[in-house]
Each structure stands twice: as structure tokens, then as C-alpha cells.
Amino acid sequence: MIDTLIQGTLLGGYYAVIACGLSFMFSVMRIINLAHGSLAIVAAYGLWLLADRFGISPFIGLLIVLPAMALVGWLLQRFVLERSARGNALLPILSTFGLSIIIDNLLFQQFGADTRSLAPFLGDLSYDSWELPGDIYVGKLSVMMIVAAIVILGGLQLFLSRFALGRAIRATAEDPDTAGLVGIDARKVNAVATAIAMVTVGIAGAFLAMRATFDPYSGGPQLLFAFEAAVIGGAGSLWGTLVGGIVLGLAQSLGAQLHPQGFLIGGHLVFLLVLFIRLFPLGTPFLGKISASLRSEA
């Protein structure tokens, strides 16, 4: 049981990392980015290429790939999102959906369907673990991921609430025209925000590729978990995403304990449950309390 809780929490850390960039764009910039997974895979291929061709360790490779992702984000904003976000709110869904198809297939065109992974370039890290008393093993990579999640999400949350640029990002997301009236250069701020989001997407891609395998089409399947974590976390809160990821991870691990097919079902059910609890803030005293605690955590 304790093992399940620990593994579930660690899994939650992974989801939080994957969801981070998505949540940032979803809850702060109000863009549902369907290309999130595909972009993470782009970063993964970048790291893989550096490691496979030039023998650069993926961790060092991040120093090259993350700035490149920032640039991608900047370009993405300038040439795609900026225009499409100006129309109706659904257009970014269409453009990022189109983008994800383009990216996936270009990757296929370039790299073929072969399964890849960054793990072979990490030595034993991908499966090393620490042994805790009680025959419990915690994977080193999993611990790294949850620490990364805390640092990134916490850092971003702090950035958004305490720093002028962070506030400017939120203001621009809410009303770009009025942001201009208080002196914010909306285009620049949006480009910076997307660049930041893409850096976190790059990190997500790296972890995804270290943890399992990827191919040009593996961006999509992880997307739902990321959305679930982001939505459980609640709009406007990045800390919430961490909580959301962990709630999801725990629900899945516990679900799997109950029934082998309970893994996915458990996650989905808890996701829906959380949404409905949030709907009834004044419901029964018990539900009310749960929802209050969910809120305060978020």
C-alpha cells in the first residue's frame, strides 16, 4: 500500500512535468495547445539526435535544445498563435491541431517509424533506484522528475504572481487590447510567454524520452493525461497542476491495485469526480470540506 502511494506520487511528478507547459498555456494564456505532445517529441528527437550523432549526453543536450525550443515558441507565437488567437477562441485549437499533424508527419518523413529512447544514453540512470526499508524502491529518474516538477511549477507560479513580467503575461492573456493601454507590449509578452512554455515542453519531452520510448507519433497519447492534470489543478494555478498530476497518478496506481484495467479507469473517474466536487462548493458539508481543501491546495 505504501509502495503504491509512493509510486503513484512519483508517477504524478511525471504527469506534472508533462502537463506543465500545457497548463501554462491553457490556464494562463487560454490556449488549448493540441500540438503540445508533438512539440515535446520534437525536443526528444533533438536530444536523441545530439546523443546519437554527436555523443552529447541528454542533460548537456538540454543546454542546446531548450534555447532552441524557446526560439520555436517565439516563432510559434509570432506566426501562428498571434494571428489565430485574434479570431474566435476556437481557432488556436484548429491551428495547433494542424500543427501537430504537420509535426508528426514531418518527423516521420525525417526519422522513420523506428522506436527511439534516450535511455541508452543515460547509462543506468533510467532504471537505477534507491532502496527504502520495506522492500520499496524509488527510481532515481522518477525522483528527478518530481523534483523538476516542483521546481518548474513552483518557479513559474512565483514568476507569474510576484514578477512584473509574470503579471504582464497574465494581463495580456486576459485582454490584450487593454494590456496595451497600461503599457504592456502584448506581442512581446506573448512571445516570451510562449517561449517559456516551450522550454517546459522541452523538459517534458526529455523526461518522456528518458522514461519510455518514443516515435514520431507518440506525442498524442500522453496528451490526455497532461490535460487531466492541468484541469484537476484548476485554471490559473500552476501549483494546482502539480497537485493534479499527483492526484491523477495516485488514482491510477490505486485503480490498478483494485483491478488490472482499473489503472486508466481509476484515473478518469477521479478526474471527473474532482470536477464535480468543485461544482458544488456549497454542497453537503463533507463534499464542501473536500472541495475547500482542494481549492486551498490549488
Binding site: 494581463a171 487593454t178 496595451g180 493601454l181 497600461v182 503599457g183 504592456i184
Partner: protein, 241 residues
């Protein structure tokens, strides 16, 4: 020296021409009351001065700088701040955050958070509330405070007293008096004519996008202005409806 000058400004909303050939200039430290009936084009004019809406033709000058094509976020850095109609607060952000956003341009001056809270003490207990949840009057106070935070040279106020209780309106006008003394130029859209004419040094009345009356406040009577609302008064410059 003239601070702000507007030359032959035309502004459109699609096919509709909301501002037609408007010209005037206003000197540093002046208070201009801009009046006119509903739909006369006042808001449109203020928004194009602030850069929120680019004019179809004409020029906007601040000192000798041509602002016509300058985007709104740069105009505020040059000292033009707008309190927009309908407040336009960032509803998901707190009062304090909204106020801090007003500081984005980084202009130095007397206004800071503490002073805004002094001016609108009713905001103090709500400083950490999201502005979307404020009462109408609290929102208006925040919007004014936000504009003041940028320490503007030219302050454009669009229906500031709308939704404010009389007590607060009084306080707003007191504040106007105090920063007038520091040399701020003000364009004021206000429907309470009596009030507007009391603080203003000049009155401009618009009708269907044109200026139909432009006179020193002391030189016209309230009745004359009211007549101008309906196009019964001809402006001296002859640019009549």
C-alpha cells in the same frame, strides 16, 4: 507650448465613421471637458488618442512628436494614460495586481500604491480580491487608480464618475484638482455637465463625430452647451454639423 494636438482626425468602425475631421489642441495643465450625446464619438476619440484604435487619417502630436502610428503601449510610456469606458480591468487579477500593472511603463512620479489607496480608501479591504468580484464602484476606482499609477502627463478619463456614489465622485474630483496642480493635462468625458464645467478650463461638444462647440468653460453657459448637443449651436470655427 501645446502638449497635445489633434489634426483632422478621422476614425472609423468598419463602415461607420465615428470621428470626422476633429482638430483641437490642448495645453499643458488644461482640463478639457469633452461632452456630447450618446454615440457622438467621444469614446472613439479618446481611444484613438490612447492608441487603442488607429485613426483612418489625420495626426496626433504630443509636443512635436507624431504619435499617429505609435502603438498604445509606447504612448503610455510617453505619458498618455486612459481610463477606459467600461473600466476594462483584468478581472482574474487582484486589485493590487491591477494597480501594479499600471506601473509597467516605469514612469516616475508621485503616484504609487499607497497614494492610490489613500485616494480610494474603500479599496483597501478589497486589495487582494479579484476585480471581477468587485462592486461597480470599486471597479471604477481601481481603473482610475491604475491609470494614475503610470504618472501620466495627459490623463484621458472616459465617464469616470459612472457608477460611483456621490461621495466617491466628490473624492475623485478632489483628486483631479490635486494633480492638476502638478501640471497634468486632462481630457474628461463627463455627462454631469455642471460638474464638468466646474473643473474644466475648456469645453468641447461633439455631435455625430464632429466638434460643434469648442469654447473656454467660462465663456459658455450650460444652456449653450446643452443646445450644442442637439446641433442647435454652431461652433465658431465653422466646422459645423
Amino acid at each position: 507650448m501645446s502638449t497635445l494636438s489633434i489634426q483632422e482626425l478621422d476614425v472609423r468602425h468598419g463602415l461607420l465613421q465615428a470621428v470626422r475631421g476633429v482638430s483641437f489642441q490642448i495645453d499643458k495643465g488644461d482640463v478639457l471637458a469633452l461632452v456630447g450625446a450618446n454615440g457622438a464619438g467621444k469614446t472613439t476619440l479618446l481611444r484613438s488618442i490612447a492608441g487603442a484604435h488607429l485613426p483612418a487619417s489625420g495626426r496626433i502630436l504630443l509636443g512635436d512628436r507624431d504619435l499617429t502610428q505609435v502603438p498604445s503601449h509606447k504612448r503610455i510610456a510617453m505619458g498618455i494614460a486612459l481610463v477606459p469606458e467600461g473600466r476594462r480591468l483584468f478581472s482574474q487579477m487582484t486589485v493590487e495586481e491591477n494597480l501594479l500593472l499600471g506601473k509597467t511603463s516605469g514612469r516616475k512620479g508621485a503616484w504609487n500604491i499607497a497614494r492610490v489607496f489613500d485616494a480610494f480608501p474603500n479599496l483597501v479591504p478589497r486589495r487582494h480580491a479579484k476585480t471581477g468580484q468587485l462592486s461597480g464602484g470599486e471597479q471604477q476606482a481601481t481603473a482610475i487608480g491604475r491609470a494614475l499609477m503610470s504618472n501620466p502627463d495627459v490623463l484621458l478619463l472616459d465617464e469616470v464618475s459612472l457608477g460611483l456614489s456621490p461621495l466617491v465622485v466628490d473624492r475623485v474630483y478632489e483628486q483631479l484638482q490635486t494633480f492638476l496642480t502638478s501640471g497634468t493635462t486632462i481630457i474628461l468625458v463627463e455627462q454631469d455637465l455642471g460638474r464638468a464645467m466646474r473643473v474644466a478650463s475648456r469645453v468641447i461638444c461633439m455631435l455625430e463625430g464632429r466638434i460643434v462647440l469648442d469654447a473656454p468653460a467660462a465663456a459658455v453657459s450650460r444652456d449653450e452647451v446643452t443646445q450644442a448637443y442637439f446641433g442647435l449651436h454652431r461652433a465658431d470655427g465653422g466646422r459645423a454639423a
